[in-house]
Amino acid sequence: MAVSIRTDGEAAGLASSSNRSATGASWDQPILLRLVSIALFAGIWEVAGRIPVSFAFPTFSDTVVAFFGLLADGSLATAYLSTLQPLVLGVVLSAFLGVSLGTICGLWRTGEWLVIPVFIVLQAAPVAAFIPMVTFVYGIGMTAKTLAVMILALPVIVLNTYKAVRNVNESLLVMCRSFLGTNWQTVAKIILPDASPVIFAGLRLGVAAGFVGVVLAELLITPTGIGDLITFHRSRADYAEMYATIASIIALSTLTLVFLQWVEVRVFRPESRGA
């Protein structure tokens, strides 16, 4: 695949299309080293907590205990139930909307001209500023949270899809035409399959952005879910519980992303794309 694009998706302009940035590298290190790395992290955290560096800095062990406490009393489960619903809904909606919009823009010049600059701006700009607005309009609930997820997730999905469709392998297009492929066949059998790895990478980045969006919405406005759990324990100075909640959402997002990356490598087999 002769495409070289920054799948990082944070590029503000489309001018620089080098593939030099390197997010999402190196999940392939041996398991032992990873365990050592985790142990080291936990150790430093424990020591820092014991000194302590701050009255509001619990030890690692306290945090682990607090985590199991939250698991046991069900508050974590309740919080996640309320956080994950808008997250999943928002990501799914953004995926459908973003991939369709991106594909249309990649295929249709006028659409590209009209729509892509908006998303370039949204991608580079701190759209988080809209989240308080969204709650003003839609109140504190599922709708506002879902919209917060979409505001953050949509630009990266649209832009990745657009770039992938736009940079589709030219010689495959000619090939399809020479074997009498119709326009629909070209889109369905050449353009979308060729673009799918980059589109999927965009979806993965969209999921990462969605996590940011939902947590932010919950911290800023809607007193529910994980964000509320964090705020609640902070107000009661239960710092271990607060840290445990934060660590759990970071861990969940990381595991989700690692899983998606694994799927990506499995399904799209990047090594095979050189052909």
Binding site: S21, A22, A129, M133, I250
Partner: protein
């Protein structure tokens, strides 16, 4: 796109959207969306208010400090990880995790550790920006061709000279790319930090405007912020273009 034979620049379509905004605002179609012209008027008067000026100074200062910190720490860390395997093995995983984690969840921790003030904002900018800088720097150092380093060695370069005269420069395109992405993330960090702290800089202004339904000013502030973010991205992209030539020549 071409119109009547002229090539219309891509970003020109934003003007079309401004017109749409104006019309939608005039017709009162969308709740809380005043006409674009009102927003512009509000922007002009907003930038003259002392509250905006002091908020801008606070925001810029926090942003600059956070970015400086993340560059000063991030670049050497990235070089270290690019050159020393054990550092890479131990840190790589965490840098990767934090580069894509929902860092907004950590801001409350910063608030209790650093207080409800500027320090928290600096820390938020740092936290948002550093990881991508580390990752890109590391990638840049990894891409340096071994023969370049062997060349420096064979001409008797000392260790410090190797790092400051060869490695830093050879990895510069990636480092700048990382800094550009870091700046964009940093802007997001400063905004998210201020929104959450809500009593500093733009966060306080946003809070005031939206609580009192001063929508024109709210949108004006948003536009100023967006323009600032785009300006930063554009500037660093220019700088990148200057080193681009040897990024290509290097391979």
């Amino acid at each position: 796109m071409t119109l009547f034979g002229y090539r219309v620049p891509m970003m020109a379509s934003l003007l079309v959207w401004c017109v749409v905004w104006e019309v939608v605002g005039r017709l009162d179609l969308v709740f809380l969306l005043p006409p674009f012209s009102d927003v512009l008027v509000a922007a002009v008067s907003l930038v003259q208010t002392p509250s905006w000026q002091s908020a801008t100074v606070t925001t810029l200062r926090a942003f600059a400090m956070g970015m400086a910190l993340s560059i000063v720490i991030g670049v050497p860390l990235g070089i270290l990880m690019g050159r020393v395997k054990i550092a890479d093995d131990l840190l790589g995983m965490w840098v990767n995790i934090f580069s894509s984690a929902p860092l907004s969840a950590i801001v409350p921790v910063l608030m209790i550790l650093f207080g409800f003030g500027e320090k928290t904002i600096v820390a938020a900018v740092f936290l948002f920006a550093i990881w991508i800088i580390v990752l890109d720097t590391r990638a840049g150092v990894r891409h340096i061709s071994p023969s370049l380093i062997e060349m420096a060695r064979s001409y008797g370069a000392s260790r410090p000279a190797l790092y400051t005269k060869i490695i830093l420069w050879a990895a510069l395109p990636e480092i700048l790319a990382g800094i550009r992405l870091g700046l964009i993330r940093g802007v997001k960090g400063v905004v998210i930090g201020q929104l959450l702290v809500a009593i500093v800089g733009y966060g306080a202004l946003f809070e005031t405007f939206s609580r009192n339904f001063r929508m024109a000013e709210f949108w004006a502030l948003t536009i100023i912020l967006f323009a600032f973010a785009l300006l930063i991205a554009e500037l660093i992209e220019r700088a990148e273009a200057k080193v681009e030539y040897y990024a290509g020549a290097r391979q």
